[in-house]
């Protein structure tokens, strides 16, 4: 197995607040990893640091054999780590097609290519096939702001996947989605990403989702990783049960589905 991402001794402090401490993770190619933890445990901070949105206070992040710490998100994206957002980040007043067309254009064009027309038939064909894979083709001409939440989430993830990244980090792909839709949504995403052989890390609160799609779990508590183990092992870990699942398991499923609008953790939607 090839190591694609290696994080060593990552620290992040905001003044006196420690948001991340002694984070050490190694990610192998084609792994599907679930990131769990209570609100404010440091999950989004971790994703923000790896994707360059937040600069770690200290530590080391190595991706594809080079140190990417301190690089801005665009450089990290271009190197092959992409991400989606808990609150979908799309071009709200544009159509779904235009959103993806722009995503393709930015991904594909560089240098003088930026001065070639935005629209071309080949690109349009790629956009349409992408729409089909994420099963949102029927919304092709709808304005992004009018989309149902699930479709908007799919669009957000589809845009992140346009560049065919080595690693895709999904920040709570199922938050704000009704229980009935969750598995359908995840099926679409995971199938598309499996075809692309993308390595996936995703933040998730729903343990059923974690159990079903994930091979390995990173459990966060107070800025630290308290457990890094295969899914089955992690879910019975005492620390995880006490500090992560304990809370989650005492909720009913509906509450879990509706209670995801956490305002404290992360600031990726600032």
């Amino acid at each position: 197995m090839t190591v694609v991402l290696e994080v060593r001794d990552l620290q992040k402090t905001f003044g006196a607040v420690v948001a991340a401490k002694d984070i050490n993770v190694t990610v192998n190619e084609h792994e599907i990893i679930g990131i769990i933890g209570a609100n404010g445990a440091g999950k989004t901070t971790f994703v923000n640091m790896v994707t360059g949105y937040l600069k770690p206070t200290s530590g080391h992040i190595e991706f594809a054999g080079r140190n990417i710490m301190g690089l801005p998100p665009r450089d990290i994206t271009n190197l092959g780590i992409s991400r989606s957002f808990q609150v979908p980040q799309v071009f709200t007043s544009e159509s779904v097609f235009d959103n993806l067309q722009m995503a393709y254009a930015i991904t594909e064009a560089s240098g003088m290519g930026l001065l070639s027309p935005l629209y071309n038939d080949e690109r349009a064909a790629r956009v349409d096939s992408h729409l089909k894979r994420y099963q949102i083709a029927e919304y092709r001409n709808a304005t992004a702001s009018t989309l149902p939440q699930g479709v908007r989430k799919l669009l957000d993830i589809a845009m992140a996947a346009v560049s065919n990244p080595t690693i895709l980090m999904l920040d709570e792909p199922t938050s704000g989605i009704s229980v009935e839709e969750k598995f359908g949504l995840m099926d679409i995403i995971m199938e598309a990403l499996r075809q692309d052989e993308t390595t996936v890390l995703f933040i998730e609160h729903d343990m059923e989702i974690v159990e079903r799609y994930v091979s390995r779990v990173l459990a966060f508590y107070q800025g630290e990783i308290i457990c890094d183990a295969p899914t089955a092992e992690a879910l019975v870990d005492s620390g995880v049960r006490e500090f992560v699942i304990g809370e989650e398991y005492h909720r009913t499923r509906t509450e879990a589905a509706n209670g995801q609008s956490n305002g404290q953790e992360g600031d990726d939607n600032a």
């Binding site: 801005p72 665009r74 980040q89 254009a105």
Partner: protein, 314 residues
């Protein structure tokens, strides 16, 4: 499928019509036309920024630099319009490139006001420079055109042709540019910078490119203005209310189409000219009143009238 760009067609027809009209137009109208082209060019630069979600309240800075650069070169013996306009354009572009490194970090009202602050600094520098006539400014001699030195009415006719050709090229260029990936990124940056970053491109870079671009066309407009009027002075070229007029024109035009900026500039000139003529005591009242009326009742500018017209037809 052969795709025919109707804006290009429209601009080309207008270009040809005006080209011929140049030789028949009343002198005062040609002069108003020249000013409209010059101011419209600045508004075009603002349109490009506006589509990115940014408004500058200080583009008199680039207008002024373009005008003064061209005018100052005439002081040291250069008179060729091609050279002067190119120099004015590039001087502004260069300044925009340098200031862009700072300004691209700001958005919204802060961006608008920082621009205004820089334009005021230029204003102060000019007022303090007695060699450049301080507040009086100085006159710009009639330019030559690749060795051709027109006299009398031919000066304006030639200058109009010259301006028309370059405005046409610039405007079609801008229109085509807006259809490219980089041009289209205006929308992306305006809508969601975070997404642009996570698609792997720098939003600041997009803004910087557009800023330089708007500086270039504003400088172009300034240089043309200096040659058309034959005079530069800080109050008409670099003061804050001049910047306000450019934003006025942009609002008047709407940002729907590149050609609209020139119509907006023309309407602006006509309002001002007629207000000055028929109500010399209250021309500011009329100007301000028209602006308010447009803001209140025609929020998307003149272009929206044309859109409405089209909708009602079809």
């Amino acid at each position: 499928m052969r795709y025919v760009d109707k804006t290009v067609v429209g601009l080309s027809i207008a270009f040809v019509v005006l080209l011929f009209a140049d030789f028949f137009m009343a002198e005062w109208m040609r002069f108003i036309g020249l000013q409209s082209l010059a101011r419209g060019a600045v508004a075009l630069g603002l349109l490009v920024l506006w589509r990115t979600g940014l408004v500058s309240f200080g583009h008199a800075l680039y207008f002024g630099i373009g005008a003064y650069a061209a005018a100052m070169l005439t002081l040291v013996g250069y008179h060729d319009a091609f050279f002067l306009v190119l120099a004015g354009t590039l001087a502004s572009g260069l300044l925009a490139f340098l200031l862009g490194f700072l300004l691209r970090r700001y958005r919204a009202i802060f961006f608008a006001l920082l621009n205004m602050a820089f334009s005021m600094i230029l204003y102060g520098v000019i007022v303090k420079t007695e060699e450049l006539g301080s507040t009086d400014g100085f006159s710009v001699l009639t330019p030559t055109f690749l060795g051709y030195a027109p006299q009398g009415e031919a000066v304006q006719t030639t200058l109009f042709l010259f301006t028309l050709v370059f405005t046409y090229i610039v405007t079609v260029g801008v229109h085509l540019y807006l259809k490219t990936t980089l041009g289209g990124m205006s929308m992306a940056v305006r809508e969601n910078e975070i997404r642009v970053e996570y698609l792997g491109y720098s939003a600041e870079k997009v803004i910087h490119v557009k800023y330089v671009f708007s500086g270039l066309v504003a400088g172009f407009g300034g240089a043309i203005m200096a040659l058309a009027i034959g005079q530069v002075d800080p109050d008409s070229m670099a003061n804050w209310n001049v910047s306000g007029e450019f934003v006025f024109i942009t609002i008047l035009s709407g940002i729907g189409n590149v050609g609209a900026t020139y119509i907006g500039a023309l309407v602006f000139e006509l309002i001002r000219t007629y207000a000055f003529e028929y109500a010399p005591q209250v021309w500011q009242f009329i100007l301000g009143g028209s602006l308010l009326a447009i803001i209140m009742f025609l929020p998307d500018g003149i272009w929206s009238l044309i859109d409405r017209l089209r909708k009602s037809e079809g």
